[in-house]
């Protein structure tokens, strides 16, 4: 078996076509790594600089009324995750910054996709793209003749007559091809790892190592199942041509047609609400609470009456707290709660839309590796939602702190301002991307799908080979 593996490995390396193709793939991988890193650095620097700017601006505000500060607000910029230089996932299609202010939750704006024409819809050159789509093609070109060629040249009979079983031949070939593929992919991943850990901005440590290790392992499984699959197809098809056409057809179906079709079907099946409708609904429901800017509102009046009673005074002037601040705070709490419900509903709808594609991952390994890869890279939808929630949590806490400051100013707060140094004591927005332990349970389905494929193919496929009468 080892000699078969060695033979496949050596003859693959001697094959000029494979050499050309693999040099091409390797070049693309290296280029994608470097480009990914360059774009990562530019975007990261831009965002860090912008975050720094708005933080400085926030801290250096002049004396202002706290509610003015709440409307002045701040921005949250989404830092990119370390591994997103390998797989940028949905990053190009999600916004990068959100304006945080009182009373409303704004959209995350300025995505890469909006800053480009429809060209971006052809796909982006990332390491993940090469690994997910092009390496399988390379594997197909490498393996389609695994058995058919031996049969066409009659060498398979020779081999079997030496007492080797078909299963052993198959495993030998799989092992040989695996080594050849590893030779193409490993340098690029090693470069990526060196880039990731060689520079000071990524000292973040074990979490990143864990993600990278799982990333590499997932792709190893992905390539393995493609190799096994291609060898199996080559064994059951009558001719090299038929094997090649079958494999290419499967590749087109799995990598081009199905992902798009299922994503579109999911969106058609579970329509999502527009931002305009959602905002209007949130507003309407929040109206049942109290409206911070609305002195005519009966609910604010009731709240005021309650305050007068609580402090045992007969007019607003005598209260030790600002009624405006308290009304504002109550209103913010209410509308934030309503918003959270609607936001959760919206994300539940998106999850249902994406669920279809996730389940198809059981049928199509490409749709299993894609979510897994971007999940490990920290650039999938779940990580994006995590950022949105962190930004909203910060917004809410900031606004409520400012409301509390206003409340403590007492009656007639609107005529007064708070000192400039007040703003320096407020916390700034810092974002900590979730750890691997948070991401993994969300990636269970694609992990299971990939493992099922690998085990299923090695078991059923190889049984198919040894039961077939090939020679």
């Amino acid at each position: 078996m080892h000699s078969i593996a060695q033979k496949e490995f050596v003859s693959t390396l001697r094959d000029k076509r494979f050499l050309v193709l693999s040099v091409l793939v390797l070049a693309l991988l290296l280029a994608a790594t470097l480009v990914g890193r360059a774009s990562y650095q530019t975007l990261q620097q831009e965002r860090q600089l912008a975050q720094q700017t708005v933080n400085d601006q926030f801290r250096h505000q002049p004396a202002r009324h706290p509610h003015r500060v709440a409307h002045y607000g701040s921005f949250a910029f989404r830092p990119r995750s370390g591994l997103s230089l390998l797989d940028s996932g949905v990053d190009s299609f999600t916004g990068t910054s959100v304006f945080l202010e009182a009373h409303q939750q704004n959209s995350v704006n300025f995505s890469q996709a909006q800053q480009s024409g429809s060209l971006i819809r052809f796909g982006e050159m990332t390491v993940a793209f090469v690994l997910q789509m092009l390496v399988p093609l390379l594997i197909i070109f490498l393996c389609f003749g695994a058995f058919t060629q031996e049969r066409e040249t009659g060498t398979l009979k020779l081999l079997l007559s030496q007492g080797v079983s078909l299963r052993q031949v198959a495993w030998g070939k799989i092992w040989g091809y695996s080594r050849a593929v590893a030779l193409v992919v490993a340098p690029a991943l090693a470069l990526a790892a060196a880039l990731l850990f060689g520079t000071e901005e990524f000292i973040s440590g074990t979490d990143l190592v864990g993600r990278l290790v799982l990333f590499v392992l997932s792709y190893a499984v992905y390539f393995f199942l493609f190799i096994v699959g291609a060898v199996v197809v080559s064994a059951v098809q009558a001719s090299s041509r038929a094997a090649l056409v079958t494999l290419l057809g499967l590749w087109i179906l799995g990598c081009i047609i199905l992902p798009k079709a299922t994503a579109n079907l999911g969106a058609t099946l579970y329509p999502a609400v527009t931002k305009a409708q959602m905002d209007a609904d949130v507003h309407e429901e929040a109206q049942h609470g109290i409206n911070g800017h609305d002195p005519q509102d009966q609910r604010s009046a009731a709240l005021k009456a309650g305050l007068l009673k609580k402090y045992g005074v007969d007019s607003e002037e005598k209260l030790p707290v600002s009624v405006g601040g308290i009304v504002m705070s109550e209103s913010e709490a209410y509308s934030a709660k309503v918003y959270q419900q609607h936001f959760a509903d919206l994300n539940a709808t998106y999850k249902r839309q994406n669920r279809l594609s996730d389940w198809v991952g059981l049928l199509n390994p490409y749709q299993a590796i894609r979510p897994l890869s971007m999940g490990l890279a920290g650039s999938d939808f779940a990580h994006y939602v995590h950022f949105q929630q962190a930004a909203e949590a910060y917004r809410y806490a900031l606004v409520q702190r400012l409301n509390a400051l206003q409340t403590s100013m007492g009656y007639g707060d609107k005529e007064r301002k708070l000192d400039a140094h007040t703003w320096q004591q407020l916390p700034l927005f810092t974002y900590q991307a979730p750890p691997l332990g948070w991401a993994l349970p969300r990636l269970l389905l694609p992990v299971v799908a990939l493992l099922l494929w690998a085990v299923g193919l090695s078991w059923l496929g190889l049984r198919l080979i040894s039961n077939s009468r090939l020679a």
Partner: protein
């Protein structure tokens, strides 16, 4: 000529007998129909969403009428009243969705500064937009080449591999006619499918009968012809079926996948767009500085631009709406240069792609179809300009109330300007695309014919 038709009819019999190919064509027909269904439902949904917006505005007005039962200060109304700038799709958008799922198709507007409202996005599922739209344009640009490859990768090689070619060429038939008849038959099948799907799509989407019908058909025909040209070149190399399949798929990969993604990188690097975020940050600084600046300073800057309001009363109050809206607008003006640079930067990126898309007929076809349907970036930029003009109209409507201290009555809500914008096709882009496709077709066919002439067909 008679031989040509004879060969042609044999190809037809052959094709009917080959279950796999018939199945493939049927599958493509089904995916095409699904593409049309998806595109039309998606556009129908956008239209339906757009129709709900006036209703949302109406509810907002109802609420304001309750809140301000009598004549109100127009400043309050401008602050609480929301209205929408809407971008209606053209009927053609259903066949080529372009960027309509990424760029927002409405903008919610209040009388406040425009620049922090203009770039708000709609709710989108990033996984879905990452996967892209399965519309008819996708089927034509991505999948039709694959069908052409599947039909013609073994044009001569299979006959050679089965030993038929020797027999065939032993007859008094010129190899050119054989290749021509085979190609013509496949062309007829593919174009039949493409036209059928296009016509079904046009009827389904109810497009108006104008020159664009022919432009669309012309674009899809030339694009298919281009791929047949590529097949001809590969056939002329006279290699094995396996080689042909790999080579053709390689060309597909290069033109449909690699060149676009590399070009995308190149364009982004060649034209770094000034970040939109810079301008929103600067606008915020300007607007909030407005609160802290002396009122006369703000008003004098405003009056320099709008002298017609100069004779209005000097502001002595702590807060008055006309001052508030004046510094909101000054905030917009302070970033006018950045806003223009941002929009120009995006347009330049698009223009550069337009210039370079000769490199890949796939990009050319896609952007031409999008231009035809008015679903790409330039149309969105036009919509943004239209929304800006609408915001100007809103200000022009409210300013007399604010500066002349006219009370805003319930009847005035109906007088407020409304906005509508419908995508206009970028016809010149589409026609240029047609010309460039024609050029690409010419080049591949010339190359194929030259190759065939240089190396006569070898039956073995």
């Amino acid at each position: 000529m008679r031989i040509f038709w004879l060969l042609f009819s044999y190809e037809w019999r052959h094709f009917r007998a080959a279950k796999g190919l018939v199945l493939l064509c049927a599958l493509l027909l089904l995916t095409g129909l699904y593409g049309i269904y998806y595109g039309t439902t998606e556009m129908e949904r956008q239209r339906q969403h757009l129709t709900t917006l006036p209703e949302l505005s109406r509810r907002n007005v109802e609420e304001l009428k309750v809140k301000f039962p009598g004549p109100a200060d127009a400043g309050d109304i401008g602050y609480y009243h929301t209205t929408y700038a809407v971008h209606h799709p053209d009927a053609w958008a259903a066949l080529s969705l372009g960027q309509r799922d990424i760029n927002p198709y409405y903008v919610k507007l209040r009388l406040l500064g425009l620049q922090n409202q203009l770039y708000a996005t709609d709710n989108t599922n990033p996984m879905k937009v990452l996967s892209g739209n399965f519309d008819l344009a996708f089927v034509l640009v991505y999948l039709f080449p694959l069908l052409i490859i599947a039909l013609s990768f073994n044009l001569l090689s299979s006959e050679r591999e089965e030993g038929i070619l020797t027999l065939l060429l032993a007859q008094p038939v010129s190899p050119g006619v054989v290749v021509g008849a085979k190609l013509a038959f496949r062309l007829a099948v593919v174009l039949g499918l493409a036209w059928l799907l296009s016509v079904v799509g046009m009827l389904w989407a109810q497009v108006p009968l104008d020159g664009r019908v022919l432009t669309w058909l012309g674009l899809s025909t030339l694009y298919c012809l281009f791929w047949f040209g590529v097949a001809l070149v590969i056939t002329a190399l006279q290699r094995t079926s396996a080689f042909n399949a790999v080579a053709l798929l390689g060309v597909w990969l290069l033109l449909v996948v690699l060149v676009p993604s590399l070009l995308n990188l190149g364009v982004a690097a060649a034209h770094p767009v000034p970040q939109g975020i810079e301008l929103t940050i600067k606008q915020r600084e300007e607007i909030h500085a407005g609160w802290d600046r002396p009122k006369t300073q703000t008003m004098n800057r405003f009056f320099a631009l709008y002298p017609q309001w100069r004779d209005t009363a000097t502001i002595r109050e702590r807060f008055v709406w006309r001052w508030y809206y004046a510094f909101q607008h000054l905030g917009d003006l302070a970033v006018a240069k950045q806003a223009a640079a941002y929009a120009n930067g995006l347009q330049q990126r698009y223009d550069l792609v337009e210039k370079l898309n000769l490199l890949s007929p796939a990009i050319n076809a896609q952007s031409s179809l999008n231009a035809l349907a008015g679903t790409d970036l330039p149309t969105h930029l036009k919509f943004q300009r239209s929304a800006t003009a609408y915001h100007d109209a809103l200000r022009a409507f409210y300013y007399p109330f604010l500066f002349r201290k006219v009370e805003f009555t319930h009847a005035d809500y109906a007088r407020e300007p409304t906005h509508t914008f419908t995508s206009q096709p970028e016809l010149s882009t589409a026609l240029r695309g047609l010309g460039k496709l024609l050029l690409s077709v010419g080049v591949v066919f010339a190359a194929g014919l030259l190759l065939l002439r240089a190396r006569p067909i070898n039956p073995r």
